[in-house]
């Protein structure tokens, strides 16, 4: 009997609240089917299942806050007989959400590898948050953070689900203050902006703490890209027109495929390149905050399909209806502030990714063409990259490849 678990939707996610089941016991489910909605710091996320079968039983009630890795439902595999499986003890703990008894019981299923070891391109259900005998219940992120600061987890009171220790508890312990508290705040468009700010703060603080960034910029003449795009859109209805943002996204995706040291994850002390290119698109939330969900396999999508995917993603992001794999899968991120008049932006890498590409506004500049100076539309593309995974020389070649793609858009 398989288990459908609370997935990790980001390196710093510790728990999510189950807000809706979209299936019922007895329903057959396919790989990739959306089966539940979970409220996280990034808003309401639709969660997919990645093992086909039949929903045997729910283990968690709607409304329960559940740690990452906790079983949410039992799933009977194809051809597997119906059985009365024991409810994993940790699931009961989550549903009731009391502090765990000491010592915490060993889970009834073998612990999976830690979240950090899940292959980036395989959105499998996240690993079990394994509370082993004699060990404090803590999220992987909190455990790592405590280790970095020499904090003994046994001395930290946990304020998370089931008494789990989170990063906020470690920070509180570092300050010598009491445990952090969470104040309820109003929502906007289904997204709690204060929670989102907290998630951004945690992710970006970790990035700046752990990742040795280096920064490069490259200016690109986009005359050819603009001309190509104008011709492409001229005969199309607005519903199928393409924005320059999609052209840039495709150029980045193709360059990322060619330079794998910028496409993947730095985990467990080493870089793991991703065989697939899932480009995270930084999408601003009105009122504050941003999310960078993935467009899967962006390097092989046509420009039209990429634009369609981007349009859909922006709409669902701002409507607070993203999917779990879109949050968990980005292998590289693209951020653009050109619409806001910014000429160059230097992003902060979202860990465990190793690169973020920034795109500025297209501005008219004097540009040497042959032996003459001409007025040309120019965009500044930047790279913030992790020095543990790549060097500036490779970064320069990566940026140049993006520029080459934009200068020859017909090859996209």
């Amino acid at each position: 009997m398989g288990e459908f678990r609370m997935p990790s939707l980001g390196a710093d996610m510790e728990a999510g609240t189950l807000t809706e089941w979209l299936v019922k016991p007895g329903d057959r489910v396919k790989r990739g089917e959306i089966v539940a909605v979970v409220e996280t710091q990034k808003g309401a996320i639709e969660i997919e299942i990645f093992e086909p079968g039949t929903i045997e039983r729910f283990l968690v009630d709607v409304g329960a806050k559940v740690p990452v890795g906790m079983p949410l439902a039992l799933v009977r595999g194809e051809g597997e007989p119906k059985a009365e499986a024991a409810v994993p003890s940790e699931a009961k703990t989550a549903a009731a959400a009391p502090r765990p008894a000491e010592p915490t019981p060993t889970p009834s299923v073998p612990p999976s590898p830690p979240v950090a070891q899940v292959p980036p391109s395989s959105p499998q259900p996240a690993a079990l948050l394994a509370p082993t005998v004699g060990r404090a219940l803590a999220s992987p992120a909190a455990r790592r953070f405590a280790g970095e600061h020499g904090i003994d987890l046994a001395s930290v009171p946990g304020t998370g689900p089931g008494g789990a220790i989170g990063i906020a508890d470690i920070e509180a312990a570092l300050k010598g203050a009491g445990a952090a508290t969470e104040a309820p705040t109003p929502k906007a468009v289904g997204i709690n902006l204060d929670q989102m700010r907290a998630a951004i703060a945690a992710g970006m603080a970790r990035s700046k703490r752990e990742i040795p960034h280096y920064y490069l910029q490259h200016s690109v003449d986009v005359t050819a890209a603009e001309k190509w795009l104008a011709g492409f859109n001229a005969t199309r209805p607005p519903a199928t027109r393409v924005l320059m943002a999609a052209v840039v996204l495709k150029a980045v995706a193709k360059a990322a495929k060619r330079f794998p040291e910028f496409n993947g994850f730095f985990r467990d002390g080493k870089f793991q390149a991703s065989p697939a290119v899932h480009v995270g698109v930084a999408i601003a939330i009105r009122g504050g905050g941003l999310i960078a969900p993935a467009i899967h396999d962006a390097d092989v999508l046509s420009i039209e399909d990429l634009m369609s995917a981007m349009r859909d993603l922006v709409q669902r992001t701002r409507g607070g209806r993203l999917r779990g794999s879109e949050i968990a899968d980005p292998t590289i991120t693209v951020s653009s502030l050109g619409d806001r008049g910014v000429e160059a932006l230097y992003g902060v890498i979202y860990p465990p990714q190793v690169a973020i590409v920034g795109v500025g506004k297209v501005v008219t500049r004097p540009w040497v063409v042959g032996k003459r100076i001409a007025a040309r539309p120019v965009v500044t593309v930047t790279l913030s990259a992790d020095h543990r995974a790549s060097d500036g020389h490779a970064g320069a070649r990566f940026l140049a490849a993006i520029g080459d793609q934009l200068e020859e858009p017909e090859r996209l």
């Binding site: 001229a234 607005p238 943002a245 009122g287 349009r311």
Partner: protein, 85 residues
């Protein structure tokens, strides 16, 4: 279609594109992109909605004529008269 009807239709479509915005207090001469905090994707969605609702596909070269509500009403009104709507 009167200009008043066009204005009402455009305001409704803008409220769909930027549901958080207070359209009642929108300065009709203000740049919509700044006033409503909309980006190029939102603006394309607005142009798409205009096409769907009013049956007129605004060419890319004319986008700038719709950057204000007053400009959009004037532009759409003129185009609809030309095509006999």
């Amino acid at each position: 279609m009167t200009k008043q009807q066009i204005r009402a239709a455009l305001v409704e479509e803008l409220s769909n594109v930027a549901p958080e915005a207070d359209l009642a207090s929108l300065d009709p001469g203000a740049d919509l992109r700044e006033a409503l905090d909309i980006d190029s994707m939102d603006f394309l969605n607005f142009i798409t909605a205009v096409d769907r609702r009013l049956g007129f596909a605004v060419p890319e070269a004319d986008y700038q004529k719709l950057f204000t509500l007053d400009g959009a009403v004037e532009y759409i009104g003129t185009k609809l008269v030309k095509i006999g709507s």
